[in-house]
């Protein structure tokens, strides 16, 4: 065991973990909106809209995240037309490509979680709102959304942890996140076990934190 290497690489890995957290939080926020949007499309009466949303979540959940990142980072740059538009400012940056891929991916999973949460809301609750004369819009924002959020908390907590692990793939498109820096240190020192312990420990700590925050929220918003 090379303890010196472990203590030397710790600060480097911690500052890389900040990048991991940045990637995670931005993609989760964007992904939440994408997920909500597609969940509502899934519940739409129009069967075409419905199928479109189903297709989206099917494709993004059925293919590896790595393929999605590569299509966006390497693939989209190939389209000449895109290079001349404003979009190119975003798409030439590996950081934003990774975030787009992560957000679309987590959006697909989130849409499934939210859809099933909306479907488990008892129709009686909505009917009660209607018979009290509450407008549809307010029923949606003040009744359906809070219940759906509470219902989907456990599953969404898992999704956050899965996404945190997913951000490690950013290292394949040259971003120096926690995994990227860990790989760099391993390949220059050839001490995989030491680096794995430190980097893995940081990941585990983040998993632990997320897990407990979700647990706290579940308790706080429980119905009883």
């Amino acid at each position: 065991m090379d303890f010196e290497l472990m203590s030397n690489s710790f600060p480097k890995l911690i500052s890389a973990a900040v990048i991991t957290l940045k990637l995670l939080s931005v993609s989760l926020i964007v992904g939440l909106f994408i997920g909500l949007f597609f969940a509502l499309l899934r519940l739409h009466k129009n069967s075409f809209v419905n199928k479109f949303a189903y297709g989206y979540s099917y494709v993004f959940r059925g293919t590896p995240l790595l393929v999605q990142i590569f299509i966006i980072y390497f693939g989209l740059g190939q389209i000449e037309y895109l290079r001349s538009t404003v979009l190119w400012v975003i798409l030439k940056e590996p950081y934003w490509c990774a975030i787009i891929a992560f957000a679309l991916n987590t959006g697909a999973y989130t849409s499934e979680i939210l859809r099933s949460a909306f479907q488990t809301i008892k129709p009686g609750i909505i009917e009660a709102g209607k018979s009290l004369g509450i407008p549809n819009k307010i029923i949606f924002y003040k009744i359906q959304i809070p219940i759906a959020i509470r219902q989907s908390l456990p599953a969404y907590g898992n999704e956050i942890i899965l996404m945190m692990k997913g951000t490690s793939l950013a290292s394949t498109v040259t971003i120096m996140d926690l995994t990227g820096v860990a790989k760099y240190i391993i390949s220059t020192t050839f001490k995989p076990i030491e680096v794995f312990i430190v980097a893995g420990g940081i990941y585990l700590f983040m998993t632990f934190l997320i897990h407990n925050v979700i647990k706290f929220l579940e308790k706080k918003y429980s119905f009883n």
């Binding site: 059925g62 590569f70 299509i71 990941y203």
Partner: protein
């Protein structure tokens, strides 16, 4: 379309072989995962706290750390570890393990952690009376497990195991970083030499979709088979 031609002119046969490789790695990893689950599930359900702890450390660490990091550990540390063991037996030559073995092992250990949780959940949700009835009827411990518990456990476990299979299948794409020529690596090579990444990565996505779709169909059939009588 000529990019996908078989033979020397296109990438069709290479991609076909790469697809077979992805399937081979996934199945090997799944089997390795089952053997890990076979060891760690009894530990999880054991009465002894220390054995529980060992199993909990395994599943928590593996499920809390990114797959890519585990793969790097095996990729850079695998041959070192084997050489260390070999040197204890007096063998000091350089040993290189091939990418297939490293990859399936890394993915297998990850998939094993998920399978362990699935099996644990399935066994725990079997009615307690079943264990007691088997005991009362004088079945041996071995027969209790194989004739009474296992068939019921499989029925409960199949839907969740199908999720584990999907995760494993998608995780194999990460082994491409070690140089094993599976779908992702082959697409990377093809994209590099034809300068057409959009086409080849999209085609890789289609291949993965086909694999996940077909395996879902197969697993659904299994599910029907094991749910007979319910």
């Amino acid at each position: 379309m000529e990019l996908l031609a078989f033979g020397d002119t296109g990438w069709g046969d290479e991609l076909f072989r790469a697809t077979l490789m992805t399937i081979a790695v996934s199945i090997t990893a799944m089997v390795i995962g089952f053997s890990f689950a076979g060891i760690f599930t009894p530990l999880k359900l054991s009465k002894f706290k220390s054995l529980n702890l060992v199993a909990n450390i395994y599943t928590t660490v593996i499920r809390g750390v990114p797959e890519l990091l585990v793969i790097y550990l095996f990729f850079f540390g695998g041959s070192g570890a084997i050489m260390f063991v070999a040197s204890m037996f007096g063998y000091n030559e350089y040993i290189e393990i091939n990418a297939f073995v490293t990859g399936s092992f890394a993915i297998g250990i990850i998939s094993g952690a998920y399978s362990t949780e699935v099996f644990r959940g399935a066994i725990q949700s079997i009615d307690k009376g079943q264990f007691e009835a088997a005991k009362v009827l004088g079945f041996s411990k071995f027969k209790q497990f194989y004739k009474i518990i296992l068939p019921q456990m499989l029925r409960l476990a199949i839907p969740n195991l199908s999720n584990v299979w999907q995760i494993t299948l998608k995780d194999t794409s990460l082994i491409s970083v070690t140089g094993l020529v599976e779908i992702m690596r082959q697409s990377y090579i093809a994209a590099g030499s034809t300068r057409d990444p959009l086409f080849f990565y999209s085609f890789a996505a289609v291949l993965y979709l086909m694999l996940t779709y077909l395996s879902m169909k197969l697993i659904n059939k299994l599910e029907v088979k094991y749910s007979r009588g319910y």
